[in-house]
């Protein structure tokens, strides 16, 4: 197991190195650039040249990459140029990341917490009204563009009904204390329970929007997987043993049915980043998704580099965790 983890870590380093080069080249091939973003209408050739020189963008690209790589090795990704000028890009990432994690965790909890039980129920009532209805509902959920769904949620629950806040992570005037960056946790730790509650209220709509697609996927995978497992010989064996339905459900059906679901959850968790770009934007949530989009628009190279690389690392780590989880529940992998 340990060797497996180490091997994956080494792979991850490889991925990150390759990706850093790709991201670097990608950024440099984007039309426009930092200089335009900073100067706007004031971009006269002289100011441009001065700024390029000041930023080191006048050097040949391989020199730039070499400089970047050298700095990156020391964890120095440079400063943000536009999103939060002067702030170290890595600090900026660390500051925004908790928002995305918080949102993603709630979303994935929603998706898993609803998807698995409903998927199981649909499979048990195969071909029933409930089954067909929920399948169609999940397909509809998938056909709705996420940002539109996010808007609909916001429109009805925040704007029309005033039940929940429109945007942001916490009400502005609250003056809540932030220590970990996870606002709910902060509120609990500092005993500012109103602040925690406020943060939870801000989380509801975006996490619902973000959870839709993972929910639909997890629901369908669970359903398909349970259907398949229900047909397995060992379930029949278990039935032939006269076991109680509780034992059959838990030990024989769900345990096996969850194997593909775990993989799916992992992949969906990685995919949440994409959903987060759209959702965070609609809700002005101030997480990584929002930051990436903003950094892209304003050609903030440092921030983009850090965010994309860290997102990739997160993706790999999540997948590693999923593989470990998979090994824990599937002895065939563990004892190979």
């Amino acid at each position: 197991m340990l060797r497996f983890i180490i091997r994956r870590m080494i792979q991850m380093v490889g991925v990150v190195v390759v990706l850093s080069l790709l991201v670097f080249l990608w950024l440099r091939s984007l039309p426009g650039g930092t200089v335009s973003a900073i100067l706007g209408e004031k971009a006269t050739p002289e100011r441009r040249a001065a700024l390029e020189k000041a930023l080191g963008l006048d050097q040949p690209i391989y020199v730039q990459y070499w400089q970047f790589a050298k700095r990156a090795l020391h964890g120095d990704f440079g400063a943000s140029t536009k999103v939060l000028p002067g702030t170290d890009a890595f600090d900026l990432f660390m500051q925004r990341f908790p928002a995305t994690i918080e949102l993603s965790i709630v979303a994935i909890i929603l998706a898993v917490g609803l998807g698995i039980p409903l998927g199981y129920m649909a499979a048990r009532r195969h071909n029933s009204l409930f089954d067909n209805g929920s399948i169609v509902a999940s397909l509809v959920g998938v056909a709705v563009p996420v940002f539109f769904l996010a808007f609909l949620l916001k429109y009805y629950f925040a704007i029309k009904l005033h039940w929940l806040p429109v945007s942001g992570r916490q009400s502005a005037g609250l003056g809540a204390t932030h220590t970990t960056g996870f606002f709910v946790l902060d509120g609990l730790l500092t005993r500012e329970y109103d602040a925690a509650w406020d943060a939870i209220k801000h989380l509801i709509l975006p996490s619902l929007a973000l959870a839709t697609i993972p929910f639909a996927v997890i629901f369908r995978i669970t359903r398909a997987s349970v259907l398949e497992v229900l047909d397995e010989d060992y379930v029949r064996t278990a039935e032939s043993k006269g076991l109680t339905s509780r034992v059959i459900r838990g030990r024989h059906v769900l345990h096996n049915a969850l194997l593909p679901v775990v993989t799916t959850i992992g992949l969906q968790t990685g995919g949440l980043l994409v959903g987060a770009i759209l959702t965070e934007r609609v809700f002005n949530f101030g997480g990584i998704g929002d930051t990436v989009a903003q950094a892209f628009e304003q050609r903030d190279y440092g921030v983009l580099q850090v965010c994309i690389l860290m997102a990739a690392i997160t993706f790999v780590v999540v997948n590693l965790l999923v593989d470990i989880a998979y090994a824990v529940i599937d002895p065939r992998v563990r004892t190979r």
Partner: protein, 557 residues
């Protein structure tokens, strides 16, 4: 897994320590709320479109930052509320020498920085010298306004407008500049040139801008600025994207009416709108003109600022030689139905431009009439020039909204239709604002393009000087024309005239020449940017320079 098992308890312990250590609530215990009772709120919450870059205005370049620092900092010269005109602020009065090169400022004697440092002549000179003496990195980028106005820094002192500053006594500062210019002293009203505490600047190593990767690193001072204004910086909660300012109770002038301002950063415009309607913010800047009606119907006040900008259609005679012919350029101008465009695509209060500057700027020529919409004349002019059916690569930016063009595509569509109506073949080109549009304009890649300018301060040089004075490099490529050199020379000469009336007359004449004889580009329109506040907000005066002050604002409950 062995390693992980051993490490885990340690990590947990460390985490627990960290959490307990930082889990102290540092919240105010609500004293403020009690004090300002009555029916007035103690907080203004304003929706900002972007995060402030930093809090040392000298290195800032964008409006979002200045909106925040303006509440905290003051300059020698201020701006009269609701206008672009200058008025005394930290300086009570000023006097130029006859040659316009020496400026004597009489200073207020009752001003202190928040940190208790006195504001006096020495402080002024310390500030001026500090701005002048920038390292290479800062000079290349962040100190942009100084570079714009003063031309150069200490390392290149010979080319700098600024020469020296002396403080003969505590209430006097004498600033010497290398030549007479229309910018002076108006440019000193720029937020970038605000006065900051010398002690704090020193202690915060304020000039230590460094290159950090592909960005700039700013010294500690930029997060803890010290000024003289009615508000002080309380907290910048980067994670929750809010900036909180609190009232400076020792302010020399009239104290701020509301104890706290919270700037909530909401980049998405429609979200700002929704927040306003939900009551979680009290106002925001630059509402989409399409929203004005809805906002007003919902009982909000849309404060329309006098337009202090210009939208123009740039032309590049180098890229498309047909454009070298004045007749062709005039034909294009006559072809445009700007009245209709302004009515249908620009917000209320927008006007058709007659010249490259708004009417609030001195040197504006009232006698100029707009080129009328006359497609027939356009066609005949094109025929005369032998340019019938000419092809024009005409570009507009996507993914952007500027005060002078809220929706570039719409404006473009209207203008394009007009051009096509007179037989011009238009190659439609669009690029994202930051994604190549500005670069291509600078590289002369389009025949024609939409762009504009918002004035920084009330000076003709800030408009037509910016556009055409630099012969070697300007977007209009006037160097490729017969009049370019002359125009550049005349503009510099006009700028140097000391007497205001004389100078104004010279600029008026230049405006006329530009529009009638040269026509380097087509001035299109002036469009008023607005800001919107809920009806509970009182006392906010819209500024053409978008330089609103919040110290006079109250918010009822």
């Amino acid at each position: 897994m062995k390693f992980a098992r051993k490490a885990a308890p340690a990590a947990v312990a460390a985490l627990a320590l960290t959490l307990t250590a930082c889990a102290q609530s540092d919240r105010d215990t609500g004293g403020d709320t009690a004090k300002s009772g009555g029916d007035v709120k103690d907080t203004i919450t304003f929706g900002a479109a972007g995060a402030p870059e930093l809090f040392d205005p000298f290195y800032a370049t964008d409006g979002e930052t200045f909106r925040v620092t303006r509440q905290m900092m003051e300059g020698l010269v201020g701006i009269k509320a609701g206008t672009a005109e200058i008025e005394p602020e930290l300086a009570k009065s000023w006097e130029p020498s006859a040659d316009g090169k020496t400026w004597t400022f009489k200073l207020r004697d009752d001003v202190k920085f928040w940190d208790g440092e006195p504001f006096n002549g020495e402080a002024v000179c310390y500030n001026m010298e500090r701005m002048f003496d920038q390292n290479e990195v800062a000079a290349g980028g962040p100190a942009g306004y100084w570079a714009d106005v003063m031309g150069a820094f200490k390392s290149d002192a010979a080319n700098a407008l600024y020469q020296s500053c002396t403080a003969p006594d505590p209430t006097t500062a004498v600033i010497k500049i290398s030549r007479s210019t229309s910018k002076f002293p108006t440019a000193l009203s720029l937020d970038s040139f605000s006065m900051q505490s010398p002690k704090a600047l020193k202690e915060g190593d304020a000039n230590n801008v460094t290159k950090q990767g592909e960005g700039f690193g700013y010294p500690a001072y930029s997060k803890n600025p010290v000024g003289t204004g009615p508000y002080k910086l309380d907290k910048y909660d980067e994670a929750n994207k809010t900036v909180t300012l609190v009232r400076n109770d020792d302010y020399w002038g009239e104290k701020a009416k509301t104890a706290k301002i919270v700037f909530k950063i909401i980049p998405d415009e429609s979200t700002r709108r929704q927040e306003l309607e939900a009551g979680s913010i009290d106002g925001y800047d630059l509402p989409n003109p399409a929203d004005w009606k809805g906002l007003k119907e919902a009982g909000n006040d849309v404060l329309v600022r006098p337009a202090f900008n210009i939208l123009y259609l740039g032309l590049n005679p180098e890229k498309n030689p047909k454009l070298k012919d004045l007749k062709v350029r005039q034909a294009l101008y006559y072809a445009l139905n700007r009245d209709q465009m302004v009515k249908t695509q620009l917000p209320e209060g927008a006007t058709v431009a007659t010249q490259f500057m708004p009417d609030t700027v001195s040197g504006y020529n009232k006698d100029l009439k707009p080129y009328a919409y006359d497609p027939d004349k356009a066609k005949s002019l094109l025929k005369e020039a032998g340019a019938e059916g000419m092809t024009l690569t005409f570009a507009y930016p996507s993914a952007v909204s500027r005060p002078y063009m809220p929706d570039p595509q719409k404006i473009y569509e209207a203008l394009r239709g007009d051009l096509e109506a007179v037989g011009i073949k238009v190659n439609v080109v669009t690029k994202p604002w930051n994604g190549g549009y500005l670069d291509t304009v600078d590289n002369g890649g389009f025949d024609a393009w939409l762009l504009g300018w918002t004035g920084d301060y009330d000076s003709p040089d800030n408009f037509i000087g910016t556009f055409f004075a630099n012969l070697k490099a300007n977007d209009f490529h006037t160097s490729a024309t017969s009049y370019g050199a002359q125009l550049s020379k005349d503009l510099q000469a006009a700028d140097a005239i000391v007497d205001e009336n004389e100078r104004s007359a010279a600029y008026q004449k230049l405006n006329q020449q530009i529009m009638e004889e040269y026509l380097p580009g087509l001035a299109i329109s002036h469009s008023p940017p607005a800001l919107v506040v809920s009806k509970k907000v009182k006392g906010l005066v819209a500024s053409p320079l978008t330089a609103e002050e919040f110290s006079t604002v109250t918010v009822t409950k």
